[in-house]
Symmetry: C2
Amino acid sequence: MAGPELSFSKHDHEGCKSYSRDAVVQYCAENGLRLTASRDLVLEILLSDHRALGAYDILDEMAKRGQSAQPPIVYRALDFLVANRFAHKIEHLNAFLACGMPGAEHSPAFLVCNNCRKVAEATVNDTDALLERFANNSGFVIQNTVIEAFGLCPDCQETAE
Amino acid sequence: MAGPELSFSKHDHEGCKSYSRDAVVQYCAENGLRLTASRDLVLEILLSDHRALGAYDILDEMAKRGQSAQPPIVYRALDFLVANRFAHKIEHLNAFLACGMPGAEHSPAFLVCNNCRKVAEATVNDTDALLERFANNSGFVIQNTVIEAFGLCPDCQETAE
DNA sequence: AGTTAAACTGTTATATTATATCAGGAAAAA
DNA sequence: TTTTTCCTGATATAATATAACAGTTTAACT
């Protein structure tokens, strides 16, 4: 397993955001995808923190920014972002976050803080291999995986003490 | 990873059901838990197949059996069954299934068929170890995991051909 | 047994998450 | 410039899940 395990650490988040957004813009250009205004806005909101946001949280944030919209706008944007791996859904929370390696073919795994909702993303080749082995034993063919671990991030462990 | 990878194979399902239900009854007796009528009914419905059912599917089935009820009845029963590991939730589907090793302390992983919704359950000590290692690197403490793989079971692969 | 406390049920209402549908507009392709 | 495709805007509604509260059953205690 490998990945930019930065989410829980202090880091240059402005750089982090612009790096990710640039990657999305480039990927769209190379693949004939349209990063329209509403998609870009939702992406921008997700990129503002390494935290999982519900669709209606995003709607609230859009309203705060003077760009209020109806649910289908957000869900369509999220469908686009998730389909192209610019964002991921945390199934257990029905919440979304921006991807750490936008566009790249990968099977993500997540560490999600139960307290602050911050999320660290990693790729999970080894875990995948393990699931693959189990699947092969049963003759099952895996198409996609959901791997989410919940617990406490370093900061929230301290707070709890 | 190990587990009773029977779900996709033909097997003595009557035996399978009664084995599981007996295990639940015994566990409840040993731990002062009450398998009340509504909990038992929901368990019975879940045990009828190795398939994930939505809460409202369960309500429909209760109605068919002349035991119609309101949503809170089912959600409370599911809360009880899941809290005591007699059932699990497939997060990606918002659906539930009976546990293959009721009451036993375990971190389950699932293979879920996208076509027929059948589910095989396994325990994932190795995968857990892997997530643990990643978590430890980040100073994250895992409390629980969601591991779900989606794809095609052997039968549905044949059908698709 | 009688009393109390705890846990469970039944019911209504409502919150939360997500999608169907359809008219219209912008962008790209032909 | 016409056509087609994709995207938006808006309304309505579907699907999933919980809050709240009165009443009942069960268990625990005396």
